[in-house]
Subunit: 333 residues, 2 copies
Amino acid sequence: MPRATKGRADPRPLARHRTDAPLRIALLGLGTVGGAVARELLERAGELARAADGRSLDLVAIGVRDLRRPRDIPLPAELTLTDRVADLVADPGVDVVVEVMGGLEPAADLIVGALSNGKAVVTANKALLAREGAELERVARHGDVPLRFEGAVAGGIPVLSPLARDLAANRWTSVEGIVNGTTNHILTAMTEDAGAYHEVLADAQARGYAESDPSGDVEGRDAADKLAVLVRLAFGAWPDVTAIRRFPPVLEGEAPPGITGVAPEAVGAARGLGLAIKLVARAELHDGVLDASVLPSAVPAGSPIGSTDGVRNIVSLHGEPVGRVDLAGPGAG
Amino acid sequence: MPRATKGRADPRPLARHRTDAPLRIALLGLGTVGGAVARELLERAGELARAADGRSLDLVAIGVRDLRRPRDIPLPAELTLTDRVADLVADPGVDVVVEVMGGLEPAADLIVGALSNGKAVVTANKALLAREGAELERVARHGDVPLRFEGAVAGGIPVLSPLARDLAANRWTSVEGIVNGTTNHILTAMTEDAGAYHEVLADAQARGYAESDPSGDVEGRDAADKLAVLVRLAFGAWPDVTAIRRFPPVLEGEAPPGITGVAPEAVGAARGLGLAIKLVARAELHDGVLDASVLPSAVPAGSPIGSTDGVRNIVSLHGEPVGRVDLAGPGAG
């Protein structure tokens, strides 16, 4: 891990020159997140334009994998809906590409294509960023186009601008927090209802709070991907995501990763001591060397992290001269 | 109160055109805050330049009331120290004026002078902003120069950029929080040590946490000034600061303002119910009409506001579609 002072996150407006021309947006992906983004862009166009300094945000095209799949969102007739997604990232009628399809490929190729064609790119693809973020940023720098990924971690919590602007005069020493809503919901339910991990997980799956294959969440991989993005934002360099520790240290044998080994007895015992068990993502710089982990941890129940319950997220930054700053809000999708 | 949609806070960089020329700063005031600002600018010049996109921040002059007063900060020989403060705001060798002298006059005249002379102004003067903020912003707009006041409220908490950028797509309905460290320290001590208000206040004065005339803090006027600034940042318009309620409603007679009437019995009773008494500054928009107050309030002890102890501050924003975002950190000076 090199000394992490390479650069700060890009705080520039998406449009290089402020004009009154509309910003033409192509959306890649129309799943849960994509559908919500499309709805906001279509239904709140006026408000969003005011938020974008008067420049209107026009959703002109949506790229999907399967055109025949039924969609419950009404799309205007003039909007292009296509499964030829690679054409969109080369289309001169598109200024900004918003990638919310997820997965490593074809997302990586499409983002590189869009950046190479001079388009600004916004992505919430934390798995891709955690693995290819440095390369994607290199392509963006080479083409002098913005690449933004604020929504990839703790979507409802402002992290990028505070670090790049309000708090830019600080030296950060650590960033920690709760960045996975599914596991925090499970741990909160285990604490409040004294349930066993597998019962609570089954209930969360039945209610749609956990996926049918929950391993990415419960084993801490999603949180590790998000921690990699946070490290980039706070310390200016991408860490090796595979080096982020997710296995609690044990005396002997092999410990289960993430929250999969958290016993209800441990949750109850912690509660009796005024502690709460949380899946804490944490990165610290010691003399320029990064130590990063995603581990179940007992923290004071009344602390900012300990009192963050349910699907809420929190990011806690420590630095000089400011001290500790806590940013909390709803998590990313 | 007009419908508060006039505009958002100014997120532009202090320098209109990014160049490599140093930004020449004049500091007005060399008290506690001014001394700390001068020290940071002088001792951390390199780091601050990196935070300012490579442009160096040169402290070239300091204006003070009394030149003979001894200063415990070593000033370089080439730095101008003067009591002819009005000359500084007209000096063509100054790009940015940082006003940290406090008080209404001559601060207001100096800021208007600096803005009229085309200089960017940074001020942390919440009392002045709460009364003359709209007029100062009018002068700044007229001269097309930036006026910044992020440090005036909850200095260590990022509020301006999150509202102007990361969270700009939201409609805010309320902003609330703890914005006065002195009263929060007193209430925290009354809770933890079960002390009476006047004992705890005397102790806080002895330790330097409260001023010899603490009325501005304990009667809620300082918090009301800061709430006025928060209302400007969140809702886009300045409220009438004199209309912010500071007197708790009582059945008959006159209630003491701020925390001056908080009895230790009330603190203890609240604690027994799992509540904490906090001086909560709160502003809500109902159909475009603002309701704003600074009142001692019993809130759940484990909530973000209830668990903010000592001199820490918290700002909690509520809006759609994001929901609640909590921003917590050290208060302003």
